[in-house]
């Protein structure tokens, strides 16, 4: 008796899914080329959620908000395209703290409505939660965690759509010595994991061109000691590893202190805020590299890491619309995914790193960060 109701119910479920699929096919004929996978296979995970784990409040809250905006944009487009297969977002705010993240990760893996994770936002959170997600078999794609060691842990569910710090650092050093022609480069970082990694690679790659280095603290505002050191070293270019707040303040202090060489920084500084903080005059001519191409014009989500988050979400959506029915299927789909995202071509190697990273140099021109015309440097 019980069994028969059960089978009846499952029959009804199959029937309704079939109906949904049919109607979905009927309505989305015109944009079949983007999500060609939908034809035939039933999208089994409709109505489920994608989780975001990262800082939404706290010091780094602004970065997390950028990512959520990117995710929301992708989900909004999906809702419009596949009104019968809406996917929701469940954001989890870690405040950027690796202490809170494991609890949130446990909550995420125990939530049956969550099929994938965009995140974690930072490297610390990733290292603290990677094992949890791996043990639970929940696929994840991080838009922003760049620490080199994360993908060396053997977590097969962990991916990132951003190049790690190695590729960018080498390209940046090459750009400074070859394109700019700098003979003496001064390297500064803010002591954070990301910054030290990037600045460290740049230092190694610079070789003899490295004249000196210094390390400031996050939230430091008084840059006068660094400026004096840079000027004393006679550097003709400076590389800063860190985020846009300190980068802007440093650029400002350097220019006001009479430094005339090239100012270069990495993706952490590639944000319109950099120009605002430094002031248009001081920021002019600054070079900011990023492992991401320009966002297409009219792209609604702005800010650092928004495009990467958008791309990461679209991979999950493609998997779901392609009929992946469980975590393993999604994970396999991600592993073999090849496509073009707004941040560049996306494909993963067997460790979960993005295969091909193109590094672009963005320039501050005419008092604005020119996000449309970067030049590829590697």
């Amino acid at each position: 008796m019980i069994r028969s109701t059960k089978s009846l119910r499952s029959f009804a479920a199959i029937a309704s899914i079939a109906a949904l699929t049919l109607s979905a096919c009927g309505s989305s004929d015109d944009d079949n080329k983007t999500d060609g996978g939908t034809t035939g296979a039933a999208a089994a995970l409709c109505g489920k959620n994608i989780a975001f784990l990262g800082a939404l409040t706290g010091d780094a809250g602004a970065l997390g908000q950028n990512m959520v905006n990117g995710i929301k944009l992708a989900l909004k487009e999906n809702d419009a395209k596949n009104p019968d297969c809406k996917i929701g977002l469940k954001p989890f705010d870690s405040q950027g703290s690796p202490d809170v993240a494991p609890g949130l990760a446990t909550q995420i893996i125990n939530d049956d409505t969550i099929v994938g994770l965009v995140g974690p936002g930072f490297s610390g959170e990733s290292l603290a939660t990677g094992k949890t997600f791996y043990d639970a078999g929940l696929p994840s794609i991080s838009p922003s965690a760049t620490n080199v060691t994360i993908t060396q842990q053997g977590w097969t569910t962990w991916h990132r759509v951003i190049g790690n710090d190695d590729a960018q650092g080498k390209a940046d050093a090459k750009y400074l010595t070859e394109t700019v022609g700098a003979k003496k480069v001064f390297v500064v970082d803010d002591g954070q994991d990301y910054s030290k990694g990037l600045a460290g690679t740049v230092k190694t790659a610079l070789g003899d061109a490295l004249v000196d280095s210094d390390q400031i603290a996050v939230k430091q505002t008084d840059m006068s000691a660094v400026v004096t050191k840079v000027k004393a070293s006679g550097a003709d270019a400076i590389f800063y590893g860190g985020y846009y707040t300190e980068a802007g303040l440093l650029a400002k202090a350097l220019r006001q202190g009479g430094f005339t060489g090239t100012f270069m920084s990495g993706d952490g500084s590639e944000d319109a805020q950099f120009v605002k903080i430094a002031g248009a005059q001081a920021a002019e001519g600054a070079v900011l590299s990023a492992p991401a191409g320009p966002a297409p014009s009219g792209f609604e989500a702005t800010g650092l890491y928004a495009t990467q988050a958008y791309d990461a979400t679209n991979i999950f959506l493609a998997a779901i619309n392609g009929g992946a029915a469980d975590g393993k299927a999604i994970n396999d789909f991600i592993g073999s995914y090849v496509g073009d995202g707004v941040s560049g071509p996306v494909a993963f190697d067997d460790k979960g790193d993005i295969k091909e990273t193109k590094i672009y140099a963005y320039f501050v021109k005419g008092g604005k960060l020119d996000v449309e015309n970067p030049s590829p440097i590697e």
Partner: protein, 394 residues
Amino acid sequence: MTTVRTFVGNLGENWDRTVDRYNAQSKPVKILLTTLFTLFFFALPLLRPPVLTTEGIDFGSVMFRVAAFALVALGLNIVIGYAGLLDLGYVGFYAVGAYTTAVLTVYHGSWPFFLALPVAIVVTMITGVILGAPTLRVRGDYLAIVTLGFGEIIRICVTNIEWLGAAAGIKDIPHPNSIGPNPEGPFADKRGLFDIPRLEWDGLIPSLDHKRATHFLTFGSGDAIPYYWLLLTALLLVLFADRLIKASRVGRAWEATREDEDAAELMGVPTFKYKLMAFALGAAIGGMSGSFFASGQGGYINPQSFPLLLSMLFVAAVIVGGSGNRWGAIAGGALVAYLPERFREFADYRLFFFGLALTVLAVWRPEGLLPPRRTRRAKSVEAKIEALEEGEPV
């Protein structure tokens, strides 16, 4: 509102009455009550009572944090509550404990956790003595800024010293040893000796949730409850030790020093020695909590886990709970850890409301939620004297 007000207002008195009633019971009843009380707390993350259970974050993990904060508050209560020393850099000891454990178990050694734990405690205690010996000669509020500076120095040092992992932190800190099989990787079939299902509540109707069971007793990455049990056990042991020491000669010496240092010194109490002892003991407990934190579910620490702000929160925990009363400190620590997680749905607003709550609580109940009995007695005597001075009948 008024009922809440009177309830919280009389919290201290009610607490005293409860304690008195408990003390009046016969021994078997006492043992039974204590066991039930303890069992309830051990079972709490499995019972998942509605309202109390956090929604946006795993309840077991929150309870782990609650227990860690309670342990820290218990340690800091010795420093602030018993000896009357304002320590604004307590997070430094928490960090020393965590880093000692991390360095010994994974970064430069491969000790098992239970061997590293006592070493971490001892190292933190020594750190406490090294810091305390020069700074405890500084009196009163100066101590606050000196200890604050110490907390910052520790944080900056671990950020910049490669030998301690620098900014990248230390990862893969091994979990405590499990009992029963504990296979790694996804899609494992059996973990632990047996499973304990947890309760799932549909409104007020509980049901057993076998799918999300806790494996007894494995320290894995997907479940914080075993870590909570371990920490709670440690908390109980420290609580017991705290009780012994408070009632001893040492405890009385602390009290004398706190109330009037000069008088105590004149009466032959070597105040400096006792202050140093309080500092070192408090440090050791902080280090112990840090050690458990390091080998917790995430198995990862970095310098950002030990911000200055955390010291402020620890102090807030002790004082909000009722400085000088061990149960008050535990309650304060638990609340400070629990409230922001429980009210996650306020998302962005929760720190704002937490700040407001701290201020309101401080203004409303300056003596803390559960002040020590002595404070309450002093207060009622004061009220009587005041009434007499005003010439009104008491």
